[in-house]
């Protein structure tokens, strides 16, 4: 096959496939969210299911807020405990997440995982 034809065919297929996915996502997202909205209207009391949804709405990815003073203190203490015997003074000036930002769901999952090991 001519290389230009192959290019046209390839880009056509890629666009068609991804356009089809867009369609499907749009459709099922509408269904899912419509249903969720109905549920919210009907049930005011906070059921486990709804809690999940609310938490997921708080999923606002603000890395700066993620680490609060308490946690900072805990981490600092831990570092200090480990590092004491190297004759250097440390001060934790900034704690950065390594790797990608963690959505709240991951945190929840991690906590469940940690507690399941107790």
């Amino acid at each position: 096959m001519n290389s230009i034809i192959l290019t046209l065919v390839g880009m056509f297929v890629v666009f068609c496939a991804l356009q089809l996915i867009i369609l499907c996502i749009a459709i099922y997202s509408r269904l899912v969210r419509g249903k969720a909205k109905n549920n919210n209207n009907q049930n005011i009391s906070v059921k486990p299911d709804n809690v999940e949804k609310q938490v997921s709405k708080n999923n606002n990815f603000s890395p700066a807020d993620d680490i609060n003073p308490e946690l900072l203190a805990v981490i600092t203490a831990a570092v200090a405990a480990y590092m004491r015997n190297s004759n250097t003074a440390y001060m934790v000036k900034s704690i950065k997440r390594v790797g990608h930002t963690t959505p709240i769901w991951n945190v929840a999952g991690r906590n469940e995982y940690i507690f399941s090991r107790f």
Partner: protein, 395 residues
């Protein structure tokens, strides 16, 4: 007795690597050490480049017998001979040749991928599609050089997918003789994305476009995230069955992640399994770049062209993504920042971070990262589909 001793030493010396090393071996060892340096000192995609370059080093120490390229040049493969005469890396290379490792790596990557930003803004899939022009544009260029077969050209073009396992998977099927250089080029350029992309992105956009702040993404419910892998996998494989190994395992991994009921499998898919496979894949892919294999005439030229064409592939893909982003900027009435288009080349998550960085240079209040993650992961799906097309047509 002294004579016997001397003779024995002489025999061993004659069978030593020092006695059998050639200039090509030395050149390839130097290249392997150079990539090892890049991987460790410069942190260029070390997870793959450390095993790949070490595999290349091992394969170019003469007579080590870890890899026997002649076993893999037979058509059809003689598996009995491989089992009887293969070295360690020959045996591990079976997982590449039989197409097992790349899908398993996709399983792990799927388990690490969050499609939330893509589901929140499905239109970003189109940016992931546009960037695949880097693949097909490079195919045209590679064919135009006249020294590559269509299969080789397709394998070189897939470097533009900026997705290592996809490139290795397709190349092992279409042009296994080029596997080493293509894998090295793919991972190196992926590591170079922060250097390659910004000039292109700035050249193709106005400052006003780069300053566009996109509106916050809507939250995505758990159910939408669970449905996504099932729907995408079904659709894509129905459209293009040849993409099944990559897309199927990618989406299974993501289902492990999002379903929330198979934490054990999710954990293993993104840790022990993907790491084991990565070690085996890297080592053996690197070992295909051995002097024994590459001594055929013209290979040096091919390797140089691969370096050039690979760079072109990344540039074309970036440009196509940004240009399509400009289109979306126009049609959306200025709501879409075209910078997120460049993330469509994949290179997750590097390309998305580049979009974020270039955006923030133009406007310090501009946080594009999450918006760029959409095209970024869409690019992975897009290149898997492109690889399927190339395999269907050329395979």
């Amino acid at each position: 007795m002294w004579d016997d001793f001397i003779n024995a030493i002489k025999t061993l010396a004659a069978e030593s690597g020092f006695a059998n090393i050639t200039l090509l071996h030395l050149i390839l060892i130097a290249i392997a050490l150079f990539f090892l340096y890049l991987a460790i000192a410069k942190k260029y995609e070390p997870l793959l480049l450390v095993p790949i370059s070490f595999g290349m080093l091992l394969a170019n120490l003469p007579l080590g017998g870890l890899m026997h390229p002649e076993l893999w040049d037979v058509q059809p493969l003689d598996f009995g001979a491989i089992l009887h005469h293969g070295g360690l890396l020959d045996l591990l290379y079976l997982g590449v040749k039989l197409g097992i490792y790349p899908p398993l790596i996709f399983l792990g990557i799927g388990a690490m991928t969050d499609f939330g930003p893509l589901i929140a803004n499905p239109k970003s899939l189109l940016l992931g599609a546009a960037a695949q022009f880097g693949i097909f544009g490079t195919y045209i260029a590679a064919m135009a050089t006249g020294i590559f077969t269509p299969q080789q050209a397709g394998s070189i073009a897939i470097i533009g997918g900026a997705d290592g396992p996809t490139a290795i998977w397709l190349t092992s099927k279409l042009a296994p003789e080029l596997l080493g250089p293509i894998a090295l080029a793919a991972y190196s350029y992926m590591a170079l994305v922060p250097i390659i992309q910004p000039p292109i992105m700035k050249a193709l956009t106005t400052k006003k476009e780069r300053e566009v702040v996109m509106k916050q993404l809507r939250p995505v419910s758990k159910l939408e995230k669970i449905l996504f892998p099932v729907v995408v996998c079904t659709l894509v494989i129905l459209i293009l069955p040849s993409s099944a190994p990559l897309i199927g395992m990618f989406m299974l991994g993501n289902l492990f992640r999002e379903s929330g009921v198979v934490g054990r499998l999710n954990d293993t898919a993104q840790n022990a399994l993907i790491n084991i496979v990565t070690i085996f894949l890297g080592l053996t892919v690197g070992s295909t770049a051995s002097a024994d294999k590459l001594s055929q005439p013209g290979f040096g030229l091919q390797a140089l062209l691969i370096i050039g064409l690979g760079l072109a592939a990344f540039c074309i893909g970036t440009a196509a993504g940004v240009l399509f982003g400009k289109l979306m900027y126009l049609f959306s009435g200025g709501k879409v920042n075209p910078l997120i288009g460049s993330a469509g080349v994949s290179a997750v998550p590097m390309a998305a971070r580049v979009s974020q960085k270039v955006g923030q240079e133009a406007n310090p209040q501009n946080f594009l990262l999450m918006h760029a993650m959409g095209p970024n992961v869409a690019g992975v799906i897009g290149s898997a589909i492109a690889a399927g097309v190339l395999l269907s047509v050329l395979g």
